[in-house]
Subunit: 418 residues, 2 copies
């Protein structure tokens, strides 16, 4: 057997689903859902469970200085950089059992398929579970992948503290000791993979609405966060005529209308959200003296984000209903475009199962955003019901998952014979 | 002396201003401002001070069952209903010394002018200070005038409780006992006055901006209060495309734009204020599931208010960005139009001093809103600096006040010879 199609045919969908059900018992909530916070007891047990699965396939297991766990299926040429597949096993406090785990167990399913197919491959294949992607216990998240890809210093990660005052470094020591006791090999340093692939639930409604079981992901949107204050003058709502007002709500309303018009020039792909809004003094019969609000602005193109950033700054420099405006950029994360060739490879594999599959841009962050700085990287998405994640109601269809995992295996087959 | 002009000429502006300064010491704040909460020690002292001023003019003092205090200058025919002039002596917690007091002491200045002029008049003239106009200690306000005019039952007023748990009834008992001890006559019941006149600071910016020292007030705006909830669906700001959103902020924004368009059809005289606004869950990267806001809508015409009320209800029945809307009318106070002839009398008197004086509609409530249901009623306004009131910065110009009081005396002269 040496064609990519054959590797996909060797995926054991039933076994994959059984793996999904089994891991979901580690940290299960009653009556449903999952709580497996980074480096807690369940997260560490999940690491050992993953190691055990790899060992039954003859894979060696490794952990690194950040507690990332790797299962290695050796290649005919062990000196070649490995093809890396994975995601994360940690969860939000009250989560479903698919976010992250799906990508790790898709990698495991590929290892099982490689074992079953006996496909000869020069380069090694490794499955990884990255430490603390969620950032729910230790913020910010993506600790393991950002450190691995050289995007963040270890010291800044080790010093973070959870709500109970536990340092990341101390929780990590416990985790590494358990992996030691489980006789997992210590391979402290990062390396440059041949490529990184990650399957994840979409966490949005698009695939479900299209009725498509999977798709290639060509990048991750950039996001700018803004804090805006519109400063007017408080006055009596009954006695102050329109022309004598400096109404901060009216100013904010007009400014937001102008922001929306600027956004509309860039079409449907811009995501513009006002999630926070407050008035001072916030009384029914008092003209507001201040309106404050947030903007979450996302787009896959750095050029579009820059253009809108300029437009927002320009509009904020104007006066609105007699009010001046202070605009602060509280965060700027540039977009990531995944490796074009790798995206095409994934897309071709997906389309064997779903000819109408789109290529999406991820609206949320993933470990892949960091790996993209380290090696050719791309992702697969699969639908989740109503776009819900980070909640016990998170749900995927087994049939969709089997297609997604088969597409992943198909792409791996292609990459291994390239 | 028997012309109206001569009564105005008998106004002693210096004495009036001295009265204003003296009353401002009762409950004075350091470094400036006034705190004279309804039925507190200072409010009761102010009543006795007013009684003392009236007695030096030979007026008999009365109090009624609600603690309203009256100074009566007898007419040649004591059986005629008296002409009533006044306002209130109580204040907000951190107030200036003009709101309310001005209208009582303008009445006192008229009594002094009548005394000085020796003008014969058939009907009695009374000056009144109404109890608890402000509603700052016991809400709602205008207790004395609303009860006097039959707009509100005594029981519902007596049962209100202040923040310290003191009942209005008990505070009133203390007040009435002090008036008794001060040998003020008890005249328990309301009566029908010949007319009621009230001078008040504008509490808005119009007269100051016109440079006009006083004007007649032809009515009090009606006000409708609305509570609006726009119900959408919370979702991830990054992963949810525009067409799949039910963004409660966007829905509220569009609905408010439509409200504003409906308001604009009725011109500049509508006062439309959104003073409260809140989002749920109010997080930067979450599409809001609910937006709630208030509307304070005012207009002098009941027909315009009804028309806008219908428009608002119609718009709220539509769907906005996929969100449904709940609109609740939390309060509806119809406009009051003052007695046309009385307004013209005041206007004619004002124009002797300020030919360019407009006729305004009051944006705020006053005791006169209740008296208007009882007898012909009208008001005079005078400017206050920057429209500020309910604040120690409240300020009026002595020259303006003297014009306003002279205009009041002039109108009283006209009414007494009519």
């Amino acid at each position: 057997m040496n064609t990519s199609t054959s590797l996909a045919e060797c995926v054991d969908g039933q076994r994959f689903w059984y793996d999904m059900l089994e891991q979901a018992t580690i940290g299960a909530l009653t009556p449903r859902g999952l709580r497996r916070l980074a480096l807690d007891e369940n997260d560490n047990r999940a690491r050992c469970w993953l190691v055990d699965q790899g060992r039954t396939l003859g894979c060696e297991a490794f952990y690194d200085a950040m507690g990332n766990v790797f299962l290695r299926r050796e290649g005919l040429d062990p000196s070649l950089p490995p093809l890396l597949i994975g995601s994360h096993l940690d969860s939000q406090p009250s989560a479903g059992s698919y976010d992250g785990t799906l990508g790790v167990l898709a990698g495991l399913a590929v290892l099982r398929a490689l074992q079953a197919s006996d496909l000869p491959h020069q380069r090694p294949v490794e499955v990884v579970s990255w430490t603390n992607e969620e950032g729910a216990r230790f913020a910010p998240g993506a600790s393991g992948s950002s450190w691995f890809a050289g995007q963040r210093e270890a010291a800044s990660i080790l010093d973070t503290v959870d709500d109970d005052g536990v340092r990341f470094a101390d929780a990590l020591t416990t985790c590494l000791a358990q992996l030691d006791a489980h006789e997992v090999s210590y391979r402290p340093d990062p390396f440059i993979p041949y490529a990184f692939l990650e399957l994840h639930i979409e966490q949005g409604p698009v695939l479900e609405s299209l009725g498509v079981p999977a798709c290639a992901v060509k990048g991750i949107q950039g996001v700018n966060w803004y804090s805006i204050a519109v400063n007017g003058q408080a006055n009596h709502a009954g006695t102050t005529p329109e022309h004598a007002r400096r109404d901060a709500f009216t100013g904010a309303h007009q400014l937001i209308t102008a922001f929306r018009e600027a956004v509309a020039e860039h079409g449907e792909s811009v995501r513009f959200t006002i999630g926070k809004f407050a008035l001072e003094p916030n009384a029914t019969n008092t003209i507001p003296q201040q309106a404050t609000f947030s903007i979450d602005l996302r787009h896959p193109s750095a050029a579009v984000l820059t253009s809108l950033d300029n437009a927002f700054q320009r509009l904020a420099a104007e006066t609105w209903s007699g009010c001046n405006v202070e605009l602060t950029v509280s965060s700027r994360v540039p977009p990531v475009e995944f490796d074009e060739q790798l995206v095409e490879t994934l897309d071709a594999s997906v389309k064997k199962y779903a000819p109408d599959a789109p290529q999406l841009v991820s609206g949320a962050f993933h470990d892949a955003i960091h790996l993209a700085h380290q090696c050719p990287t791309a992702m697969l998405f699969m639908p989740c019901r109503s776009g819900i994640s980070h909640h016990p109601d998170e749900h995927i269809e087994r049939e969709d998952a089997e297609v997604a995992v088969s597409a992943m295996a198909d792409a791996v087959g292609t990459l291994l014979v390239r």
